[in-house]
């Protein structure tokens, strides 16, 4: 910076008024540009509502082949299209078959904090924080705030179709995430 004493500014009321007007106008123009950019910049980041395609029932192969009344981990896949990329996604679920047209389908994620639980000694046990659920999905120990999340399903000509959904973790209500 140059080291000289600054020239004092004119204190004439008219000059002060002019200066204030210019300051206001500068702020107004900058505000205008910012406003006109901020709306597009925020909208740009909001995902479109139809992104990810519609939810639908996806076939889970091999349902007729599994034993009844025994929780079985099953996997199924479908082609997911997101924006400009299509990819093959594989999901796993816990299925207990009660009859050829009746089953219980659990999301594989613990309702506490979305860890993947396992089925040991006739109970669903979560390794992360020790939540334990019985075969009806009821939480009998540990921090989970609600029972295991069931997934919607339908059975058509013996084949199982499941609608994959995610639910908010850590709250007593089962709400879509």
């Amino acid at each position: 910076m140059t080291n000289h004493t600054p020239t004092p500014r004119s204190q004439d009321p008219q000059d002060i008024e002019k200066r204030n007007f210019i300051k206001g106008a500068t702020a107004a123009i900058l505000g205008f540009i910012t406003l006109f950019l901020s709306v597009p910049f925020v909208s740009f980041l909001i995902p479109s509502s139809n992104e990810g395609g519609e939810e639908k029932f996806i076939k889970v192969p091999n349902f007729p082949g599994i034993p009844t009344e025994k929780p079985t981990k099953m996997t199924f896949s479908y082609v997911d299209k997101q924006a400009f990329i299509t990819s093959n996604v594989v999901y796993d679920i816990w299925v207990t078959k009660h009859a050829a047209d009746k089953a219980t389908v659990y999301s594989p994620l613990c309702p506490h904090l979305n860890c993947r639980y396992t089925f040991v000694e006739n109970l669903y046990k979560c390794p992360c924080h020790g939540s334990v659920f019985n075969q009806d999905g009821k939480c009998i120990a540990g921090p989970s705030p609600r029972p295991l999340d069931t997934l919607a399903y339908k059975i058509e000509s013996g084949e199982l179709f499941v609608k994959w959904e995610l639910f908010k973790a850590g709250i007593p209500e089962k709400v879509e995430a």
Partner: protein, 771 residues
């Protein structure tokens, strides 16, 4: 006026950081001789740089730097993300404007003599900033991985590579591999979004610090140096007004002149004349004047000299005089330099390669293209030109589009027509070849070969003589030895294997496929044909010995003299065995036939890119259409062509058409094919371009351009964009604009005008009240 709380906070912060007094000092800078609009160029650069950084970061939310997805991710951003058009548009035009304003800024400093002592460092850092800008403008356009960017990058890296001594090192560092591809894209990306932004921010800081320490230069005229102005608010106000105008201009350009969609980069495409972006045209043009051994002068010598000259300017031009009118020599030299750069840019801009000229529908230029062996787009014109001129058979072959479908190398290819070097060996009579050129449908009603009925007799003779003179460039593949007879009886599997080897080595593959799917070859696919007809061994033998016995119009040559008895037997056993063979999977089916496949797959199905998902370039599509489609669909897809009047036309077709039987019009296209939604429309026609369609009326089949790799996926996308455009559907329609671009611009201007009016009204009312 400030509240005590704010004062306490600011002084607390200032005592610990010095930031408040720093900014106060910064804002209260005194400007010798008052504020001026001519001083706003530097801050205009700052405004643009800020916009570039923000819009650049925002685009990273969608952009993917891989050769598979770069182009489609950017197009998704531009067409399907709200205001993507605006954010991309500001960045695209902002870069261009930045280059121009940086140039003007430097020019002003040069004319005003502001580079002189003590501002040498400001000037030197400024030169560095211009070089960084150039690197930005070089790396940026490559990122969309479209045709323009790919070729600009290719040329740019090539130029860097031809610099003496350090060239090949630089090229390998920039390219990251031995050719343009994924590694090059990533390197351009990292330079553009990480290294260069860091560099430009650092050097801008240094530029500003050096500027404030040395002080501004002010007017050269002593009289004008009286009095002072202030940076805040007077100069900042002027800066902001200019920024507002730039902002309006950027929105205007983004709304009315969006960046082109030049189609996916396609290394296979030979129709493109690689040209750098506008800001490097002068260098590109300069290189044209310095061919051969002088080239290093253009790639390294001249640019280095320019930089050194400008860098040493403050040290060479040491007189304290700043008045440009008293520095005639220096200023004039500078203007001559700018003039030369602009002139070279103009020359580079208007330069067209012979191939491009040929596509521009200008007769004189078509002639130039003919002599340069380039394929002209307008066949009608080139035929009449060929008739006027005396051209050799080879020249005719290369200029009339024959090479689009035929090879003369003796090897099997992925082109639609057979290789022509075996014609004499195949027993084609002179007259047969003549008829094939003038009226191919007289030999095979389904052929897609266009009739060159307008070609003069002499020219047809020249062509026939040329074809008759052809010999395979390589010796024919050696005939494999017959399998050894073990104990007298030859094993059937060995015989089939031997037959297949013969099939591949005796030229059968030039007309037939064994893939179980229709192909674009002149002959039928043999898995399909043999499964369908289940011919006897005797029938097959007759077909091989005298094909015309079964069909007098067959164009298949006789193999009676080309296969001995053992070979004939193996061939028949092999052909019969095809009745139990299953179809080969698509894409892999033609690997062996098409040696070019490796490079094709770079933009082909192997990488998962499918043409239907790519936004093609309709103008390039028009050129491709003229090469691959007009023989059946007519010059504008409307089935109306006079060139090929030799076609056996379908009398049932609507009047005026001369298209072959059963070929649908594309302009307008059938109702059941048309769809106003670009994506749906494209997916329907994509099926036909990829896999072909059999002709139910005995005319030529639609070839399977995709499956046969006759066209790359990028080329198919271009063709699709063209076919959509002639049916009034825009492939580049913005489906989710936020606010429509043009409406957005008018809204912006409207609100701004209203605000200015309101402010003026307010000002006027205040005055009234005071009075």
């Amino acid at each position: 006026m400030k509240s005590p709380l704010i004062k306490t906070v600011t002084s607390w912060v200032d005592q610990r950081t010095g930031l408040v007094s720093f900014f106060t000092d910064f804002l209260h800078e005194e400007i010798v001789g008052g504020t001026r609009f001519s001083y706003t160029l530097g801050s205009a650069c700052m405004f643009l740089l800020t916009l570039q950084i923000v819009t650049g970061i925002w685009q990273l939310f969608y952009y993917v730097p891989t050769i598979d997805y770069a182009y489609s991710s950017l197009n998704y951003l531009r067409l399907q993300v709200p205001y993507g058009w605006l954010i991309h548009g500001i960045h695209y035009w902002g870069g261009t404007l930045f280059t121009i304003i940086v140039g003007l800024h430097a020019l002003r400093v040069f004319v005003w003599g502001s580079y002189k002592k003590p501002r040498e460092v400001v000037w030197l850092v400024g030169i560095l900033l211009i070089l960084i800008t150039a690197l930005f403008m070089f790396t940026g356009p490559v990122l969309p991985w479209d045709k323009n960017g790919y070729w600009a990058g290719q040329v740019g890296i090539g130029i860097a590579g031809s610099v003496p001594l350090v060239g090949s090192f630089t090229q390998s560092i920039l390219q990251g591999a031995n050719k343009m591809g994924q590694m090059a894209l990533l390197r351009m990306y990292v330079l553009h979004v990480a290294i260069l932004p860091a560099a430009i921010c650092g050097f801008v800081m240094l530029h500003l610090i050096a500027f404030r320490v040395a002080g501004e230069s002010g007017p050269w005229d002593e009289k004008k140096r009286k009095g002072v102005g202030y940076f805040w608010p007077e100069q900042i106000f002027k800066d902001v007004v200019v920024s507002l105008l730039i902002f309006l201009l950027l929105v205007f350009l983004s709304a009315f002149f969006p960046a082109p969609f030049s189609g996916l980069a396609d290394p296979m495409d030979t129709l493109i004349t690689p040209k750098p972006a506008w800001n490097f045209l002068f260098l590109y043009q300069l290189l044209k004047f310095l061919p051969g051994p002088l080239e290093p002068l253009g790639t390294a010598g001249v640019p280095l000299m320019i930089v050194l000259l400008f860098g040493s300017l403050p040290f060479l031009d040491k007189s304290p005089e700043k008045n440009p009118f008293k520095r005639g020599f220096v200023v004039l030299t500078g203007f001559v330099f700018v003039g030369v750069i602009l002139f070279l840019t103009y020359l580079g801009f208007i330069y067209r390669s012979p191939a491009e000229l040929a596509q521009m529908d200008k007769p004189g230029e078509v002639a130039a293209a003919v002599t340069n062996n380039k394929i002209p787009m307008d066949l009608e014109k080139s035929i009449s030109l060929a008739n006027d001129k005396k051209l050799t058979g080879e020249q005719l072959f290369k200029t009339l589009g024959c090479t689009e479908c035929h090879t003369t190398t003796g090897k099997a290819s992925n082109k639609q027509g057979p290789d022509l070097s075996h014609e004499v060996a195949n027993g084609r009579a002179h007259q047969w070849l003549h008829d094939q050129i003038v009226a191919p449908q007289s030999h095979n009603q389904r052929t897609i070969m266009p009739p060159y009925s307008h070609l003069s007799n002499g020219n047809v003779e020249n062509l026939v003589n040329y074809i008759e003179s052809l010999k395979p460039a390589e010796a024919p593949a050696p005939t494999p030895p017959p399998p050894a007879a073990a104990g007298g009886a030859v094993d059937n599997t060995a015989l089939i294997k031997y037959g297949e080897q013969l099939f591949n080595s005796q030229g059968c593959v030039q007309c037939h496929t064994i893939q179980g799917r229709p192909s674009n070859k002149p002959g039928p696919d043999l898995i399909m044909a043999i499964k369908k007809d289940m011919p006897t061994k005797d029938w097959l033998k007759t077909q091989l010995m005298t094909p015309q016995a079964h069909n007098p119009l067959s164009i298949m040559p006789s193999f009676a003299t080309r296969l001995n008895d053992d070979q004939m037997n193996a061939m028949i056993v092999f052909l019969s065995s095809l009745s139990t063979r299953s179809a080969t999977p698509a894409a892999a089916g033609e690997q062996e036939e098409a040696p070019e496949d490796k490079s094709t797959s770079e933009s082909g199905p192997a990488t998962g890119i499918q043409s239907a998902g790519i936004i093609g370039d309709k103008e390039h599509g028009a050129i491709l259409f003229h090469q691959s489609c007009i023989m059946c669909h007519g010059p504008h897809g409307n089935n109306k062509t006079s060139v090929y009047s030799g076609y056996l036309t379908d009398k049932n077709q609507s009047n005026g058409t001369t298209a072959p039987k059963g070929v649908p019009s594309l302009n307008p296209i059938d109702h059941d094919v048309f769809n106003s939604d670009p994506q749906t429309f494209v997916e329907i026609i994509d099926q036909r371009l990829q896999h072909g369609v059999p002709n139910s009326q005995g005319g030529p089949n639609m070839p399977n351009f995709g499956d046969s790799h006759a066209l790359t996926q990028a080329q198919i996308a271009d063709l699709e964009a063209y076919v959509l455009s002639i049916n009034g559907v825009d492939r580049t329609q913005i489906s989710n604009p936020g606010i429509e671009p043009k409406e957005f611009f008018f809204m912006l201007v409207g609100i701004l005008s209203a605000l200015i009016l309101l402010a003026a009204l307010f000002w006027y009312l205040m005055k009234l009240i005071k009075v």
